[in-house]
């Protein structure tokens, strides 16, 4: 269980999220995005990553966050799902955390809505909680 407990973390507003680090390809600064008309809500646009065209996913839309307070220049967390790469748009990037198993809890049963499916685990940190996201489910939304 070595690499499985390392998480790449980021924020949406003040909520702290994490993704398994081995799913993350790279993190890049804000990129101009090409808008795709008629696209699903959660698709924010397309970015040009060194000649590769990557779909940018609006994580706020996915997780029912208010899109009005979004960072105007979101960071891109490039993740791999299947053979394709996606960019998750987040407000701020945190550290890569190495977390031990005893900090892990199952998600609360009272968690409801579509968000319930997207969060896989919860970690108890000193002064906050880290919500671990299931990337594949987000992309399949």
């Amino acid at each position: 269980m070595e690499g499985g407990h390392q998480y790449c973390t980021f924020y949406l507003d003040k909520t702290f999220f994490g993704i398994q680090v081995d799913r993350v390809q790279e993190i890049i600064r804000f990129q101009e995005m090409a808008i795709v008309p008629m696209s699903p809500d959660i698709v924010k646009g397309l970015i040009n990553l060194r000649g590769q065209i990557i779909t940018g996913i609006d994580l706020r839309k996915c997780l029912d966050f208010n899109t009005e307070y979004a960072n105007k220049k979101p960071m891109n967390v490039i993740v791999k799902s299947g053979a394709e790469a996606f960019s998750l748009l987040v407000d701020r990037i945190g550290d890569v955390l190495d977390l031990s198993e005893d900090l892990r809890e199952n998600k609360p049963d009272t968690l409801s809505g579509k968000v319930r499916d997207l969060i896989s685990d919860v970690y108890k940190l000193e002064n906050k909680l880290l919500l671990v996201l299931d990337i594949d489910k987000i992309i399949d939304l």
Binding site: A34, M38, P40, V43, L46, G51, Q52, I53, G82
Partner: protein, 732 residues
Amino acid sequence: MAADEMLNEFLIECNESLNQLDNDLVIFEEDPSSQEILASIFRTFHTIKGSSGFLALNKLETISHKGENLLSLIRENKIAVDRDIINVLFLLVDAIREIILNLSNKGTEGENNYEVLLQKLEQLQASEKDVPAKIMAPKNDEGAILEKVDALKENVENLSGITDTKIRVDVSTLDSLMNLVGELVLARNRIMQFKVSEDTAYLSSTHKLNLVTSELQTVIMKTRLQEINNIWSKFHRMVRDLAVAKKKSVNLVLEGKETELDRTIIEAINDPLVHLVRNSIDHGIETPAQRRKNGKPPMGTLRLSAFHEGGQVNIEIFDDGAGIDPEKIKEKAISKGIISIEKAAQLSPQESINLIFKSGFSTAKTVTNISGRGVGMDIVKTNIEKIGGSIEIHSKPGENSFVRIKIPLTLAIVPALIVSSGIQKYAIPQLNLLELVRLELDDNKTQIEMVHNAPVFRLRGKLLQIIYLDRIFREGSGKNGTHQLNGNKKTLNIVVLKSGNHEFGLVVDEVHNTQDIVVKSLGKKLKNINYFSGATILGDGAIALILDILGIGHNNNIISDVLHKDDSGAKTKSNIQKLNVEKQTLLLISDLMDNQMAIPLNTVARLEEFLCSKIEISGNKAFIQYRNKILPLIVLSNVFIEDELKKEPPEKFLENKETLKVVVVKLKSGKSFGIIVDKIIDILETEIIDKGPAPRKGVLYTFVMKKHITEMIDFDNIVNKVESQLIAIGTN
């Protein structure tokens, strides 16, 4: 892991060997005496046996071992080669192929034990003794051994030759290489923009960078090209099997095997080609008996040729079989309800042949497993058009049929027009582009008109349906702010597009340039939007979506016959009407007597306005010196008045005028003359359906255009008249 890799290598190699075996066997069947081919077949079996033994693939080893034994008996002339043996060898290849397929799909050799096949092999080998020793002079052992050593040597040499010049590269590696080169091109473009330094060293190094990048791009492109032979080589076996099954005799000729195509295109045309080849053998080429009766050589010829022409690849499929009988096609189309009897009667032979591209058409009288499933040529056509190609069929009934496919060299790079709507840029493939129309909105010229709520535009007299790109995108996506309608635009850009048989106009905000774009596919979240066929990266690094014209047409109900097959009958009807009545482009004029007349535009050389003072009158006829020649000017209403005295003198037309409008007509014979007209009304493309009788000589027929009776001018008649009158004057 290493074992897996070895197995993979082996599978790839085997696949190639099997194709080679197929081809070799076909040649061997024709010429069983060829020791060279036999040696090659033997070697291939031997290699497969060796590798499969090494990888512990028992079934494969047994089968290839038995095959090798049989072959060595043939080599030693201990058994004679006959149809049976060839067939068993083909079956062996099929068995090996099946095992290979199982291995690559399931990782096992499969359940089949191939007992029947092995028994058959045993039997054949046992028949060894039956061969009379007299006929097959046994070779001495020494010779056989020497030959084996030679074969081995050759094998080794071949191997080293291959490793020296070729390596296997994964396609994905090539693709990413291509991406990187694309990125390099962009970086180069940016560097070239910095004209910061006049330093010659700097300039020469950027120049060098420029050159190297371009060259690199070309070379990378080239690595993606494959010879068409990659798919053609499989046809030998297919044609042979089909010919045997249909008891026909076919000679397959391949021309231009080395013609190169992008691998994506090669994959896309494989199925259509297979279908066409099957058609040729199944429906085209007759049985030897039939051919003899028709005075043809008993062996039919099927010729595939490929060549480059004008940036495209042409593939031609020719067979000297029975050809396509337009009458039969018509009957079939009528019985299938594709067209009505009346319409069918009006079709030309070529138009009738084209009916086989209609959906629901299959010419096979009975459905066979070789070709003909009711889906047929329409699928072939759709598949070829999907990759931007076109297909045409010609046939001389009883003699031959001929199919020509034209396809682009590559799908990866297409020429496109860049337009913008809102802040976003879009690419429109040139393939769909007909013309660009720019409308000035502030004057009184033709505008966009409304048919209830559907905007249309009169383009040369025809109504063109209009789609506003910004509107469909604004309504369709909740993403505000990007596609604001600009209320007071001074101009309107209409891109006239064509998809299949349909035309429509797409209104965009701005039209930029045309450029070659590298097509990239969209991710899975965006695959389902049928407004876009992909995306591309422009020179400045921005992303432009590639518009899917067919999709946009569908979504706006313009192109509906593909989706709704039910009303295909009605659609076909109107299409055929179009086929039947040829479109003409006409110049509409009004003559000095205020009659509306039409002149076919293809006879009109120029429209001129001459000063009356330049017109010279000689013997009651008007002339002008025009481009160093004497151009007779005629008044239409005068030409057909027989009596010279009743004609209006030309001076009369010059009264009170400063200039004369003249249509300069140039006929096929090369003769020119000018027609004096009062007004030039319009140029329009039209189909004349209702023709009225001609009221006077010099008029072919009349028709109604723009609410007026219009006379179609009969030029042959006029030329005769004018010339005879001129000559008459001359002799007088």
